[in-house]
């Protein structure tokens, strides 16, 4: 039942924000409601974290290892049920969602000044949809939330976004985002239906249940095609390079809260989808496909880095660096060893923190000097109080400095994949050099160089300072004691590894 609350609280909170705003004209009420809602979600997920047992040893394979489960019949005609389940993987993602959701509310405290209630309705519904994605284990339900969360995100970008250059407005960015993800989502729906009808042909019963469909025997080519449907949907969201066109625009044009959610959570739904659905449902096909996926990942690492280097817009730079980071995630997922999969988790968590930190910082700079163009910045160090110091830490995190979570993630991924795919790892490692290049370029162009003026632009107030500090502590926490996260995901990742028929023997666990 607690899973239902986790899911519905954001939706209810969002409606409350909207309804209470229209009566009391310009007020802070919606913000506090939204913050309280996210607080409840965060507390619930932390409570689940602390009370649940996620390191069930040996519970791999046939017996489901859900810590909590909730099921109600929904659409009997097709055997669709409202089936939610929680294991370590979903718990980590949900806690992350709760945290970043709260952060998104706080960081838009001063940025969003019009239609506050409607803004928070959209923000909270995104969170609700994402939580639904992380909890659903019925494929129909999963698809339902997967598509549903696009609508509020669309509104967020289209209505509260920043106008970009001419002919590149926030609305076109939002439309691009929506069409990319929706059209690829339909491919996934077709794949889901293909799987369901194959299962129906074999057994005569309709079901969309993940646990049941996982057992469906598929012959080679069919499995491959169906797997591709899933992969493309997730690859658009991750994003994998040829399908990344929406991401820089959407990030650059979105309000800060939107960027934080996009980079921090929405991109992770794709990795989650691969780990939860694409690989366990089609293990053989995925193993067959792994070299292609890894090649795409490698290409993404380099392409994203080069793209990032060439940007002049701070937010676009960070967005492109996400493409590069997600390349590592893709390699980790398809290498299939437990170690690399654990690295994927660490990388996702750490990237969520560092990317959120960088996006919030660029939002704060934008609030002060009203531009995101790096050519107009320079010399900001010393003019903005503590802000550049925080920026330095997050940039270091983003380039994978030891001591930060990103280092743990990249290290585990490369280490775990080395046994089976040494050349991929060697090539990917050189990508880290490029990460250092664009990160330092970001630092240099924005904070060093000759300042445009000597006047102070105002330091961080309490709200901004505490956000930054919290993110910084978490980044270091994941970097210095990653075991806290890895313990929770251990069982789930072992299970993914068990399903994945890759030619990788289970490696020793970290």
């Amino acid at each position: 039942m607690i899973l239902c609350w986790l899911l519905f609280i954001p939706f209810i909170g969002g409606l409350l924000c909207w309804q209470l705003e229209s009566r009391h004209a310009p007020s802070q009420v919606p913000r506090w409601i939204a913050l309280a809602t996210m607080g409840i979600v965060l507390v619930l997920s932390l409570w689940l974290w602390l009370t649940g047992d996620y390191s069930l040893p040996g519970a791999v394979g046939d017996s489901p290892s859900w810590t909590r489960e909730f099921e109600l019949p929904w659409i009997d005609r097709f055997g669709i049920s409202f089936h939610l389940a929680l294991d370590g993987l979903s718990l980590i993602m949900i806690t992350l969602t709760g945290f970043l959701g709260a952060l998104a509310v706080i960081c838009s405290w001063q940025e969003i000044t019009n239609r506050i209630g409607f803004f928070h309705l959209n923000l909270l519904w995104i969170i609700g949809g994402v939580i639904g994605v992380f909890l659903a284990v019925d494929l129909f339900l999963f698809f339902f939330f997967w598509e549903m969360m696009l609508v509020p995100m669309y509104f967020l970008i289209a209505l509260w976004g920043h106008s970009g250059s001419k002919g590149n407005t926030r609305i076109s960015a939002a439309v691009k985002f929506f069409i990319y993800t929706q059209a690829s989502g339909l491919l996934m729906l077709v794949s889901i239906l293909g799987l369901v009808f194959t299962h129906y042909g074999q057994t005569g019963t309709f079901t969309f249940d993940y646990m049941v469909l996982r057992e469906t025997p598929l012959d080679g080519p069919l499995a491959y095609v169906l797997m591709l449907g899933f992969f493309i949907a997730f690859a658009v969201k991750l994003p994998v390079v040829p399908l990344h066109g929406w991401l820089p625009d959407a990030h650059a044009q979105a309000p800060t809260a939107g960027s934080v959610d996009l980079a921090g959570i929405l991109l992770k739904t794709a990795a989650y989808g691969m780990l939860r659905f694409a690989i366990p449902l089609f293990p053989e096909a995925s193993a067959q496909f792994a070299p292609v996926a890894m090649a795409l990942g490698l290409f993404g690492i380099y392409y994203g880095a080069v793209l990032a280097y060439a940007q002049t817009d701070v937010k676009r730079l960070i967005a492109c660096s996400s493409i590069s980071h997600m390349g590592f995630v893709l390699i980790g997922i398809y290498s299939g060893s437990v170690l690399a999969l654990q690295g994927v988790i660490a990388q996702m968590v750490a990237h969520a923190f560092s990317a959120a930190g960088l996006f919030i910082i660029s939002g704060q700079i934008y609030e002060r000097i009203d531009t995101r163009n790096m050519r107009e910045m320079g010399g900001l160090f010393g003019r903005m109080g503590a802000l550049p110091g925080f920026a330095l830490v997050f940039v270091m995190a983003s380039l994978g400095m030891p001591g930060t979570g990103n280092f743990i993630g990249e290290f585990l991924i490369l280490f775990g994949a080395y046994q089976a795919f040494p050349w991929v790892v060697v090539i990917a490692s050189f990508g880290l050099v490029l990460a250092a290049v664009y990160s330092l370029v970001l630092m240099h162009r924005v904070y060093w160089g000759t300042p445009a003026a000597e006047t102070s632009l105002g330091g961080l107030d309490f709200r901004e300072y505490s956000m930054m500090l919290l993110l910084l502590v978490l980044t270091l926490l994941v970097g210095l004691y990653p075991q806290s996260v890895l313990d929770v995901s251990q069982t789930a990742m072992t299970e993914v590894n068990h399903w994945f028929a890759a030619p990788v023997s289970a490696s020793p666990t970290p």
Binding site: F144, E147, L159, Q182
Partner: protein, 483 residues
């Protein structure tokens, strides 16, 4: 119960509609009163709707060689009656200020609804033709009802001429079928076809009928009239045209193909598949650049019927079920969308508020009305949490089940293109208000019957989007026992 009585019960909805027509004409003769005419119409339509419950007791039943009353016809009859009801509530608010005779509109609407009921229950070429003409001819008048407005008159004439041509095709096709097989009953035609009697003529006949029906359904390449007529017709009429006439003709098409499946090597189904694919793609592509919401909805209806045609190509039980589900969700959505357009244009004051800029910033003036239109656009785009998604899910499911991958691909691509213009309409509602002249719904729109109707429709669209099981069960019941 004797035969006569059961037959009367079976035809009760049609008879009630006919009685209502007479009653409305009678009151007009006594004295013109808009409210009375509208009230009688609504009461009559409701009575017909309730009488469907009685009809369920006697189904399935063949009434004369002309009609078959089964659960299938009850289901689609119910959809037609609900849609007509919605259109008449919209029309009442819309026509209030029309500087002309208003009462006859309801006579035309009732005639057309009666024709739709006859068409749905047809199992014989004669009833097909009578039903179709009874459905279409009053529509000429309805489309041109605000004839002082040039585009309305133009739309009416255009529809009349092209519709007449389609009817000629239909008659010719029937004649060929009769010449080849010697019968006009659908089921006997099927027998004749399996016996291989004069099969070339049979196919030519069926082909010509398909052309005529494709015209009525505005499928590519017979779609050219659609945007002009949708744009020119008064709002409530566009709603009627997009729902009642489409549902009735499609229900007939699906029944015709399930009773008399084309017994050939499948080229006819391939032809229909090509029409479907062309409709999906061309309908969506042409809608991209539209700046008039009524034209846009017209093109979008072309695309939607293309999606739905997949079910006819696939056939089978799931195919019929898809037709039922898809039409129900499509009707609710389209009525809602045209309902909002009509409410914004009500009461009548010249050409309807069709241009997209009329809707700019509607959300900040009329939040609930804009929310309704948002829901309808999302539903047309097939986004989860709306009924449209369930319809699209069925269309994809039936395509995947039958392995019609090219049509499935068409639906995916079409939906991708379609998103662009649905989102465009949607976002305009939320943009900041401009200084331009704008049209607006009257302030008390939510208390009017039309306003309540669109609010109920949007509630239904969301409800069936989240919990479609009741709808599916209803349609299932209709398909299982139907024919």
């Amino acid at each position: 119960m004797n035969d006569f009585l059961t037959n009367v019960i079976a035809l009760a909805p049609l008879l009630i509609i006919c009685a209502t027509i007479v009653a409305v004409i009678g009151t007009i003769a006594v004295g013109r009163h808009h409210f009375t005419a509208a009230t009688i119409t609504v009461v009559g339509l409701n009575a017909a709707l309730i009488s469907l419950l009685g009809v369920l007791q006697v189904t399935p039943l063949e009434v004369t060689p002309l009609f078959i009353i089964d659960n299938y016809s009850v289901l689609f009859g119910a959809i037609v009656l609900v849609a007509s009801l919605a259109c008449s509530t919209l029309a009442h608010a819309y026509l209030e200020t029309l500087p002309d005779r208003r009462e006859e509109f309801y006579v035309l609407l009732l005639c057309s609804a009666g024709g739709a009921l006859a068409l749905i229950a047809a199992r014989h070429m004669a009833s097909l033709f009578i039903g179709l003409e009874l459905l279409s001819v009053p529509l000429y008048g309805m489309v041109a009802y605000t004839y002082r407005d040039r585009i309305s008159l133009e739309a009416g004439l255009k529809y009349m001429v092209l519709s007449g041509a389609a009817s000629a095709f239909l008659l010719f096709g029937m004649a060929l079928l009769y010449a080849a097989s010697g019968t006009l009953v659908f089921a006997e035609l099927a027998e004749a076809a399996t016996d291989g009697v004069g099969s070339t003529w049979m196919l030519a006949g069926v082909g010509m009928m398909v052309v005529a029906l494709a015209f009525k359904l505005s499928l590519v390449p017979f779609h050219l009239w659609t945007p002009d007529v949708y744009e020119g017709a008064p709002g409530p009429v566009s709603a009627f045209l997009a729902t009642v006439s489409k549902v009735a003709v499609f229900a007939l098409l699906a029944r015709f193909f399930s009773l008399a499946p084309p017994a050939d090597d499948g080229w006819l189904l391939t032809l229909i598949g090509v029409i479907a694919l062309a409709s999906m793609l061309i309908g969506n592509l042409l809608a991209l650049r539209q700046n008039n919401i009524k034209r846009l909805l017209g093109y979008s209806s072309i695309a939607h019927l293309g999606y739905l045609l997949t079910a006819v190509v696939a056939g089978g039980e799931l195919g019929i079920e898809t037709v039922g589900i898809y039409l129900a969700t499509y009707v609710a959505t389209t009525l809602g969308a045209f309902g909002v357009v009509t409410l914004v244009s009500s009461p009548y004051s010249g050409t309807d508020a069709g241009a997209l800029h009329h809707y700019r910033g509607l959300f900040w003036r009329r939040p609930y009305l804009a929310a309704v239109l948002t829901v309808m656009m999302l539903s047309l785009a097939g986004i989860p949490m709306t009924a449209g998604f369930i319809g699209k899910f069925y269309a994809l499911a039936v395509g995947v089940q039958s392995g019609l991958w090219w049509l499935v691909g068409g639906i995916v691509i079409g939906s991708g293109i379609g998103l662009y213009y649905y989102l465009r309409v949607m976002i305009i509602l939320y943009l900041v208000e401009p200084g331009q002249s704008r049209r607006d719904a009257v302030s008390g729109w939510g208390q009017q019957s039309g306003g309540i109707m669109v609010l109920l429709l949007s509630a239904a669209v969301i409800l069936f989007g989240i919990y479609p099981q009741p709808l599916i069960a209803l349609v299932d019941a209709a398909v299982m026992n139907g024919g």
